[in-house]
């Protein structure tokens, strides 16, 4: 941990709000990027960003500096995100008359422009179970180690690997048409 960040954390722990805002400025670009990757929705990402830093502000006294501040913020974000997903799932179950679209069925066999590939990838990611999606994003987009993800999500490394495999299989299957269009594997 850089001394500057450490000093800011110590100041923030004594209630110095300015020190906390300096910490936000230091860390928030990555946090917002992760929020956008997880939610794939600008407004939801902004809400998640605010929630993470407000929780961090209220609980900074409990941060024991045993991990990096990033790891702590990531942990708060992952928990907040998974909690939201659980709530949304409950609402979806209660409104079960509305069927979720199957993104795989709507793939066109024709070559698509890249924006369409991106939309397709978004659809596939959004359709992944929340744990698989979170693990995949933390590993592939954020470059975290399996052990770090395991600590953050409180699940075993073996389970993380299984989630990665399942997420990748669904991605591969969902993007098959695009791959064949490009590579003919």
């Amino acid at each position: 941990m850089k001394p500057k960040v450490q000093d800011l954390i110590l100041d923030a722990k004594t209630g110095n709000a300015e020190a906390f805002h300096a910490l936000v400025a230091y860390h928030d670009e990555k946090i917002m990027t992760l929020a956008l990757q997880l939610t794939r929705h600008r407004q939801d990402a902004e809400d998640l960003y605010q929630e993470v830093f407000l929780k961090a502000y209220k609980n900074i006294e409990s941060f024991r500096m045993e991990s990096s501040f990033y790891t702590w913020l990531y942990r708060i974000m992952v928990n907040a995100f998974l909690n939201h997903q659980r709530k949304e799932e409950k609402i979806t179950i209660q409104e079960s008359s509305r069927e979720l679209p199957n993104p795989v069925e709507s793939i066109s066999a024709q070559p698509q422009p890249d924006t369409e590939v991106s939309e397709r990838i978004n659809q596939i990611l959004m359709a992944l179970p929340k744990q698989q999606k979170t693990v995949f994003i933390l590993k592939h987009f954020q470059g975290l180690k399996i052990r770090e993800i395991s600590d953050m999500m409180n699940i075993s490394s073996g389970t993380i690997k299984k989630y990665l495999f399942r997420a990748m299989e669904k991605m591969r299957f969902g993007l098959k048409e695009y791959q064949y269009g490009r590579n003919r594997l």
């Binding site: 709000a17 670009e29 917002m32 490009r182 590579n183």
Partner: protein, 314 residues
Amino acid sequence: MKDLLKEQAVLYVLDTLDSNEKSDFELEMTKDKSLKKWVSEYQSTLKLANDSQTQPVSKGYLNAQRFSLRNKIESISSQKSDSYHPAIPTINKIIQVKQPVWMSIFAIILSFFIGKTFVSSAPESDNNSLDILQLMNDGLLTNIDIKLNEDENNPIHFAVHASNKMEYSGDLKDDLIRDILFYLLLNDENLGKRIKAVNLLKQTRLEEKGQMVLISSMLSDPNPGVRLKSAKMLQSYSVNALLIDACVKTILEDKNSAVRLSAMDILEAHPTAEMIPALQVIRIMEKNAFIRARAESILADFEDLNNGQLSPEI
């Protein structure tokens, strides 16, 4: 192909295999062409997934988020301060529990002391100190930062974030410094600041009003660590009826055994007949065996003094 090998292929592509696993897998690939094809397909999937990467967030966009966050945090802080007239929380906490008459008197003295005594100690030449005292008197003193200076003459530095930022430095001999520390210890919601305040106060010998603040802190602080520090500091004070009553209340009501034990230390050093009923309750009701034994021991001393009989007043 077995799922296990496909899983290995995914982990290989994601660069999560250790060096041994990696070389084993690469050896396997040379033997099994279909495995190589799977790896290529997963790599291609990841390449496509990278196309969906979100655009980097702009500085302006982040600044807008920070501004919004700042407003929310300030709103939280002001909500806290709205309910913070200096004397009220402490008095309320005291009033919430069953209390002897002395506690009400103590609350009145405390509110008087917080509201008025601070003003009387104003060094009139210093505008910042007058402003700080005024805010304290109006119950508007919040957002206080404490820093320790390198300046030996003025090692403690306060910055008060009010409408205008005010700063004040001094040492523990300075009445205003001590008063702000008392204020923080009794009123600040931030545990870190209360601990810092009590730790700083520990470095000096406090007069009578310091004892009152510590008694209040021992009785009412929500954090057991702060209550314990206050109780330990009170051990160095000369004992009076107020302190004995506060310690009796602590050993009967405090949820933390270390705090109760610390209050018991004070009672044990200065036994009086008035504490006997409380000790008898402790002897029967206390969950902590060590504290029960201490109560038993003090009661035994009383019995020795009275030839095997406890005082007839009991």
